[in-house]
Symmetry: C2
Subunit: 155 residues, 2 copies
DNA sequence: CCTGTTAGTTGCGTAGCGCAACCTATATTT
DNA sequence: AAATATAGGTTGCGCTACGCAACTAACAGG
């Protein structure tokens, strides 16, 4: 186990803080959830989420600035703007799913709808979990924080 | 694919919104990150995170109210209060790790320190990913949202 | 009893959020 | 062409949340 002082140095530069800078504001996660569920247009987000228009406008700008959504003007109808997930945005799916599964287990109590399934088997995905390099699912008591330099070379 | 109207109904009662109600405030994730890294006391959180004392006080109360941390008075020194993760709180680890890994990949660009390892092999954990029931790692194009009722019986 | 530590609370100013109304550019209808 | 509708915002205003520094209460150790 690392000592407290060592942790403090390291916590300050942790990437969680950086990530929250990009997606930690009140509505950002819910907007992204909408995007993953196929919402694309301003009015869709607004009416679906019930968010205030100015806040939605502001959050969309920020998400675009952070490269999480991209703003695609519609060629056919020049009033329309489509907001689409970038690769960076799509890569937030594990965060959203972890949060959703936690909510299902501890808050709503029931598996919610719709369900995310493997397109092939059409069976629901597994719960998100922490895995060792060999694939074993790990609990907190099987985990340990160590300094990068102390990681032994891979076997 | 489900149609837009169907999604709207379902999005409102999604557990992500409920989860954010509990842990979505500005400092909550950073406090939890601290807790996972072994912080327990008010002053530890305060000096490590640099959070304002009133906000910290308020967030701790809320996290305790939500059953994510528990408030354990110290028997030896009755000034001291230890804040410890409950099972519910510990179960947020996948969320924190997903967020951290996303930050590492897309923001800081480098794997950060300290590193979470499997206590047995002492090798770093795998990236968090979405898996099918049979264990295959799935990308977004291999995934689909369907209504719970349309899930076929397990093979 | 005096000093330091722990865990807060209070007061006050700033930043972020929510609501409703308004605005601009483009489409559609008549 | 004029009138109306639609999409994507912006503005003004009030309220809530947040940040900072100072203060407090309850202990602990000498």
């Amino acid at each position: 186990m690392l000592d407290l002082e060592r942790h403090r140095e390291l916590l300050r530069q942790c990437s969680i803080a950086a990530a929250l800078e990009a997606v930690g504001e009140r509505w950002s996660f819910l907007i992204l959830r909408g995007a993953f569920n196929g919402l694309h247009h301003f009015e869709e987000f607004q009416t679906t989420l019930g968010i205030a228009r100015n806040i939605l406008s502001n959050r969309l700008v920020r998400l675009v600035e952070n490269g999480i959504l991209e703003r695609v003007p519609d060629a056919a109808d020049r009033r329309k703007v489509s907001y689409r997930l970038t690769d960076k945005g799509r890569d937030l799916l594990p965060v959203l799913l972890s949060l959703r599964q936690w909510g299902e287990r501890w808050l709503s109590g029931k598996p919610s709808n719709p369900v995310l399934v493997d397109r092939l088997s059409r069976q629901p995905i597994q719960p998100m979990s922490v895995r060792a390099a060999d694939g074993r699912v790990l609990g907190l008591n099987e985990l340990e924080w160590i300094d990068r330099s102390e990681v032994p070379p891979a076997p």
